[in-house]
């Protein structure tokens, strides 16, 4: 089984430029800049069907293809790497940045060339101190070796990459909020259209891609579409970093082919449940994905199979809900997070999420009523897609709607017994 993104990583040891060059880390850059036209690269990535690895799964090449090109296109364009990893349960981009920073930088160089952007930013989560140190060092190495700066590899292409460390707030991972934040403003999402590819950072065409997405680019350029497609088990293309956290024997992160059954990841890689714990449900890819109940964990981990059972792949870093954790308290924890992190711009999200959180807290504390379940169900529609300014509140409603469905009995026990059965 091939693991292109992580095969050269020895955890805890960062690949230096020298290490990276030894394993051909910049071969893709050389090929792209010297042998390929920008449009060729956009087409290649489009045909590869590389889906965005940040959680939404939007086709990467399609996103790039919206950027105006040619002599009439704006001269200034930007590429932004979204490294604001903050989806609860997600710990994959940190791993790629801390261990193989040049893979990301190489991907950024090729992407910037493909959309003809001469400035790029890495929007990095404040808390990722080690990633910041590693990236700053790797950028300095790349500049010194002529992979960044003016006239890269004598091709006439120029690129500067800047690191912006954020100041906290989950919403900054939403690409238009990220752009506002990078402009020094409050991180509030923007109305779309115009889409960032047309008018983004500082009003210029901008592409925002996730760390894991960008880490793929040099591999695809170098080894081609057929190779990329063959990596996955279900034809979607590529591997995916997948993680498991919670009460399992070996929590961790692995690069696995898209399409691998969820059960296999949990049992074979994460070692199965810890002694004394039973699996109840899985959050497959971060806080904003629907629960997968225990009887459906044979689902394939990919972009099509999970929606077919009412969930999403998201970031593919699973959180295991065990039988000794109260599902109502767990949902309360999730909704508290979303309530706190609402940017406050639109009313349904600003007012609705704290309302949901308070009801869940009341139920958890044994003060809930049966009617509260109707109010919660109402919110899953009222705060759902199309009713709010961005995807924050709809994301918050995903675990709630599936939680209400799968844990109905647990909700009723809290209400009828007037206390949390998980607390003494």
């Amino acid at each position: 089984m091939e693991r292109p993104l992580t095969e050269h990583i020895t955890p805890g040891t960062t690949l230096t430029l020298k290490d990276s060059l030894k394993v051909g880390g910049y071969d893709g850059v050389r090929k792209a800049l010297k042998e390929m036209a920008p449009a060729e690269i956009v087409n290649l990535v489009k045909t590869s069907n590389l889906l965005g690895r940040g959680g939404a799964g939007f086709p990467t090449g399609l996103k790039w293809s919206f950027v105006p090109m040619g002599p009439d296109a704006p001269k200034t364009k930007y590429l932004i790497c979204n490294a604001d990893e903050m989806e609860p349960g997600t710990f994959k981009d940190r791993y790629l940045m801390e261990n193989n920073p040049h893979q990301l930088i190489a991907g950024m160089i090729i992407t910037a060339y493909a959309i003809q952007a001469e400035k790029a930013y890495i929007f990095l989560r404040w808390a990722y101190k080690k990633s910041e140190a590693v990236l700053r060092n790797a950028l300095a190495e790349a500049y010194a070796a002529g992979y960044l700066g003016k006239n890269i590899l004598g091709t006439g292409f120029n690129l500067d990459i800047y690191i912006h460390t954020s100041a906290g707030r989950y919403i900054c991972g939403e690409e238009t909020a990220l752009i506002n934040s990078l402009e020094g403003k409050r991180g509030i999402p923007r109305a779309k259209p115009p889409f960032p590819a047309v008018s983004g950072l500082f009003g210029k065409p901008t592409v925002v891609n996730n760390v894991e997405t960008l880490s793929w680019i040099s591999h695809i350029v170098e080894k081609g579409i057929d190779w990329f497609k063959a990596l996955s088990l279900t034809g979607e293309g590529g591997t995916k970093l997948m993680g498991v956290s919670g009460r399992v024997k070996l929590p961790g992160l692995w690069e696995l082919p898209l399409g691998i059954p969820m059960r296999e990841v949990i049992e074979n890689y994460a070692g199965g449940m810890s002694d004394g714990y039973r699996l109840r449900a899985v959050i497959p890819g971060g806080a904003s994905t629907d629960f997968v109940p225990v009887d459906q964990i044979d689902v394939k981990m990919d972009y099509k199979s999970l929606p077919a059972i009412g969930s999403r792949l998201g970031t593919a870093t699973m959180i295991i809900l065990d039988d000794k954790t109260c599902p109502v308290a767990f949902l309360h924890n999730i909704e508290r997070f979303f309530a706190i992190e609402s940017c406050g711009w639109c009313t349904p999200c600003r007012e609705g999420l704290p309302w949901v959180q308070k009801i869940l807290l009341a139920i958890e504390d044994g003060k809930g009523k049966v009617e509260d379940l109707d109010i919660l169900t109402h919110h899953t529609h009222y705060l759902g897609p199309g009713n709010t300014f961005c995807a924050h509140a709809p994301g918050a409603m995903e675990p709630l709607q599936s939680g209400l469905k799968y844990f109905h009995e647990d909700f009723m026990r809290h209400i009828n017994e007037k206390h949390c059965p998980w607390k003494n």
Partner: protein
């Protein structure tokens, strides 16, 4: 406040240099606002009303605009904080792995709840959402360092290292 606005900016030369250096990444000065707040906080521990006015003057922004940016971000502190910042992850994986008991332990040990600062100014305790360390939960940060697989014993060992 109006007197202050008329005065020369009180940012130190060092802070101004750092802000200008950071601003080279952007096409105009105002865009450096978040970085400027972080730079001032780095030197002073927090961002006071006076600092907001000073930054606004330096970046030629309105005071309210700078304050609106400052209050948006959770890692910009608009109140004085202790010499060391403890950030306990309170998200899902850390909840499953028992952060609440560790929070109670730290809280009792230091005599403060979330949002509090010890009377000697040594520690401030705040919650933080997912630190991206879920496979090694429960986790927390003290200042710029991440600590994983926390236990009461490990917390005892850690806290004595910070003065």
């Amino acid at each position: 406040m109006t007197d202050k606005l008329k005065n020369e900016t009180m940012l130190t030369d060092h802070e101004k240099e750092e802000i200008l250096e950071e601003s080279k990444a952007y096409p105009y000065l105002k865009a450096v606002c978040v970085d400027a707040l972080k730079i001032v906080q780095h030197h002073r521990g927090w961002v006071s009303d006076d600092s907001i006015i000073d930054i606004a003057g330096f970046l030629q922004m309105s005071v309210h605009e700078v304050d609106s940016v400052a209050t948006f971000y959770s890692r910009i502190y608009r109140q004085p904080v202790g010499r060391n910042m403890i950030l306990i992850c309170d998200s899902m994986s850390c909840m499953i792995m028992g952060y609440e008991k560790l929070y109670d332990y730290i809280s009792e040990k230091l005599g403060i709840r979330f949002g509090g600062t010890t009377t000697d100014g040594r520690f401030t305790l705040l919650p933080i959402s997912c630190l991206g360390d879920c496979h090694k939960a429960p986790s927390m940060m003290i200042n710029n360092e991440l600590f994983s697989l926390l236990t009461k014993e490990l917390i005892d060992e850690l806290l004595i290292k910070y003065e």
